[in-house]
């Protein structure tokens, strides 16, 4: 299987920026696309912050950071992705939006280009259906934060060809990831378990079974999880959590997947998490330290 050399990443938000880091760290040419110069600059800031953090922890030199950044091309037009062998889409979690984007890319990219969707809860099959090249569409779900989490869930749509699956698996390994193959089912594996567990923790808080701090302490010390649930939700964002949770609830109609009432209240109050300075915890905007 020939190695992939040039990869497009559409969307440079939380996941897109992390994926771009993964790709350029693997030594591949990376084309990052955002809708506007402002969003592009924000995305670049996210990537630079990640590298700066690595430098602070002594894991990276400044020279290496510059080297990685040189592998990245920053664009706002889709046409610049024409000669990418793989295009990874990590935009807002909405079927129509993703499908339309692939439809546009289909007219610009070479017929061999593989279209990868980083969706966590939507139907890869539905996204593939409107893409113009359904056999070349596949799900590759990276975990947050993508540069640190080794897992990628590869999910084939009903239409995905065997050739595309093999290419995606090889690409994942080229990126240094561990591949788990999943069917095209909502939430695949990781979110299927994480989301209802997070909802159960929120329900425990609503029911007064514990304070925010005590529930996080219980999860970390009693279960050995690396992060408390509320710490994690503040990183993900309450708005993103609600959308992901609702998608799963619509698919399964299982009450465990329904976002509890507190989530809606917090969103209404603007307590979205780290990005607004307050979620379940408060954050000092300057230092980003959790209270």
């Amino acid at each position: 299987m020939p190695l992939i050399r040039k990869v497009g990443v559409v969307g440079c938000g939380t996941m897109g920026s992390g994926i771009a880091v993964v790709v350029c760290r693997a030594g591949l040419q990376t084309v990052v696309r955002e809708v506007s110069p402002a969003r592009l600059a924000e995305g670049r800031q996210r990537i630079e912050s990640f590298f700066d953090g690595s430098i602070q922890r002594g894991k990276l030199t400044s020279a290496q950071k510059e080297g990685y950044l040189r592998c990245i091309q920053w664009v706002t037009d889709l046409a610049s992705l024409a000669d990418c062998q793989v295009v990874i889409v990590a935009i807002y979690e909405n079927v129509e939006g993703k499908r339309d984007l692939f439809c546009q890319l289909n007219t610009m990219c070479s017929p061999e280009t593989i279209f990868v969707t980083n969706t966590s809860t939507l139907s890869v099959t539905a996204i593939a259906a409107g893409s113009g090249r359904p056999d070349r569409v596949i799900g590759m779900h990276f975990c947050n934060p993508a540069p640190l989490m080794k897992l990628v869930e590869v999910s084939r749509a009903l239409q995905t060809s065997d050739e595309t699956v093999q290419a995606a698996n090889a690409f994942g390994e080229q990126l240094g990831k561990v591949i788990v193959s999943t069917r095209d089912t909502p939430g695949f594996i990781v979110n299927l378990f994480l989301v209802p567990f997070e909802n159960d923790c929120i329900r425990a808080l609503e029911a007064g079974l514990g304070s925010v701090e005590d529930i996080d302490k219980a999860v970390k010390l009693g279960l050995g999880y690396p992060m408390g649930t509320f710490e994690l939700l503040d990183v993900v964002g309450l708005d993103v959590h609600r959308d992901v949770s609702m998608n799963l609830y619509h698919a399964f109609k299982d009450p465990r997947f329904a976002p509890p009432p507190l989530v809606g209240r917090m969103i209404e109050a603007g307590h979205l998490g780290r990005k607004t300075g307050r979620g379940f915890y408060r954050y000092d905007r300057q230092t980003g330290v959790g209270a």
Partner: protein, 286 residues
Amino acid sequence: MGDLVVGVLGCGSMGSGIVQVVAEAGYPVIVREVSSAAVDDGLARIDRFMAEGVRRGKVTEGQKMATQKRIRGTTEWGDLASCGVVIEAVFEDIQVKHAAIRSLSSVLVPGALVATNTSSLSVTEIAAAYACPERVVGMHFFNPAPLMKLVEVVRAVQTDEAALAEAREFVRSLGKEPVQTKDSPGFLVNYLFIPYVNQAIQAFDDGLASRDELDNALELGLGYPMGPLKLVDRIGLDVHLHASAALYRETGERRFAPPPLLRRLVKAGWSGRKAKHGFYTYSGQS
């Protein structure tokens, strides 16, 4: 610490761990068992665990001996009269616990704190058997107690603020981290953990992914120390089934219902690591 003497009822797998924790924290401990054979077994259990700790370089032989010197085993209820704190860790059955608590009523001073290590029974129901129910709390340790930092401090309906505060402080003095919770089914940790494991067992039964893929995905994707199927093998499928069934009986909530596959595996005798067969197969020494 002063001159607080701590009593522990029961020296089984949890009781012995709790005795060790308390003694290691510097308290004199009196552990009561039903027979001198049970006392000897319990003390031997502690000795084995601590010997392993010495072998791994976690404690010195000297520290082990100093800890063991603080522990006294007995079959006499009267020997607990000097205890300011008693932790009940007898068999997980309400009749057995009630009998033990009633015996304490006639022995302890009124100001003593009584803590029950129950994981699935109602602390309120246990407290009702004690002469001063407001002095009873839940103090739920995790297995193995010497290694797990978390302790759930449970407020029963009757527990007063003073008892709760004393319990939290006592837990901290053991080098543990208390979290405070209500006397509701599963308290906090099991309430969150049991539905997650049940979901994993059902998903595996439904063919969502292979056993290894399921465990791997959660270990690598979420950073969990152990995937759910590997973990429930270690806990014991029978132990998990018992806890899950108890929660389902009390709440009627579907997420606590033991999945059919779980019952079948337990019926087959495949209760996990200790039986050499659960979701995984284990060879040689566990």
